[in-house]
Symmetry: C2
Subunit: 219 residues, 2 copies
């Protein structure tokens, strides 16, 4: 949804704006974020800003779009796996690639989930975000649905629920494991990835814990 003008503006300016906006949104959420603060820290004037963007939501959506695009590069051009074993090795490979992008831009993940959540709570904004979020969501959930078909992933719960839970786990881990101020070291990131992997396996495992599967109201 961003103005085409912005896309062909000076890369340094674009990065300054998107960076400042990302930091502001990450720190204060959507409503709490102040355009004026963003302008100040990006060294941009009001006039310039409204020349490039329609409104606050437009900026937020642009930030979200760029952030997701960066993170989603890892998911491009991957054939659906053909058996259960290759499903998990595919996922592992994807995680490795995601980790690489994460290392290059550490706070991105957190921002995407936080901002994404905030935007999707507001119906008008969700509508504006839907176009460019749709195929990302579909690509991911398609992969996991294939996992279910192959018996590599539990089928007693819908993938959407599984994905939400994994998202929740990711956020929790990022909150606890990633340092607040300085950017995380490679070791910290890899430890987080390892733990995340462990949790994802546990959560998605088709055999589950030592208890009967969920049917809808166990006592």
């Amino acid at each position: 949804m961003p103005r085409p003008r912005f896309e062909k503006a000076e890369p340094t300016l674009r990065e300054a704006v998107l960076g400042a906006a990302a930091r502001e949104f990450a720190a204060h959420g959507y409503e709490g974020a102040s355009i004026n603060r963003i302008l100040e820290s990006a060294g941009l004037s009001k006039g310039a800003f409204y020349y490039y963007f329609d409104d606050k939501a437009d900026l937020a959506l642009t930030v979200l779009q760029h952030a997701t695009e960066e993170l989603m590069e890892a998911f491009t051009a991957d054939a659906l796996p053909e058996d259960a074993a290759s499903f998990w090795s595919t996922m592992k490979a994807l995680q490795r690639r995601a980790l690489d992008t994460l290392r290059r831009s550490p706070r991105q993940t957190e921002l995407v989930s936080k901002l994404g959540q905030a935007l999707f709570l507001r119906p008008e904004l969700a509508a504006r975000a839907a176009p460019f979020m749709a195929d990302t969501r579909q690509r991911i959930s398609g992969l996991w649905k294939r996992g279910q078909e192959l018996g590599a992933v539990r089928s007693d719960l819908p993938v959407e629920l599984l994905l939400s839970v994994m998202q929740g786990i990711k956020e929790a881990l990022a909150r606890v494991l990633l340092p607040r101020e300085h950017s995380p070291s490679l070791e910290e990131l890899e430890r987080m990835a390892a733990i995340q992997w462990d949790f994802f396996r546990r959560v998605a495992d088709p055999t589950g814990p030592r208890e009967p599967p969920i049917t809808g109201g166990e006592e």
Copy 2:
């Protein structure tokens, strides 16, 4: 941290204020919440408000405190379990009781976690919240540490991390499973509780998935 005056004010007034504030904070987060809107929807004047509260943070902390107190009633006066089996049955019993309070005040959990998170991100507020949050946190983490001692819970990760992850799972499930507008039915709540239970077991299981335990950087 709330003024003593507020504690001995009319219960109907207290409920009106806390209710309105809870809704506002839940809907807009800490920064996005507007005192003026709260006043309007609670039918309170500015003068009255600042007679009862020091500032916005004071109100938020009061809301948080009351909400947690209500949720934490379920955790009072419970002896630490003596063996692995009784640990999990204790947890199950606690979950049942938590579900009961949740049924009485459905949005509370979500609010507590959301608001709590927001407040703990701001150092000054975290300091003000610490006093009345400390023993709650300790009671819960003490229980899980006992679970670790008894071999009922995995010990390769610190309880604080486990608790964060479980919190994340809870929030994710609430977002997906609880209806947005009307209050959830008993069936919906019980289904959510069952799923939550399943995930908690999976996440905390000491044996884990079909993979080696985490040590700090597995390839």
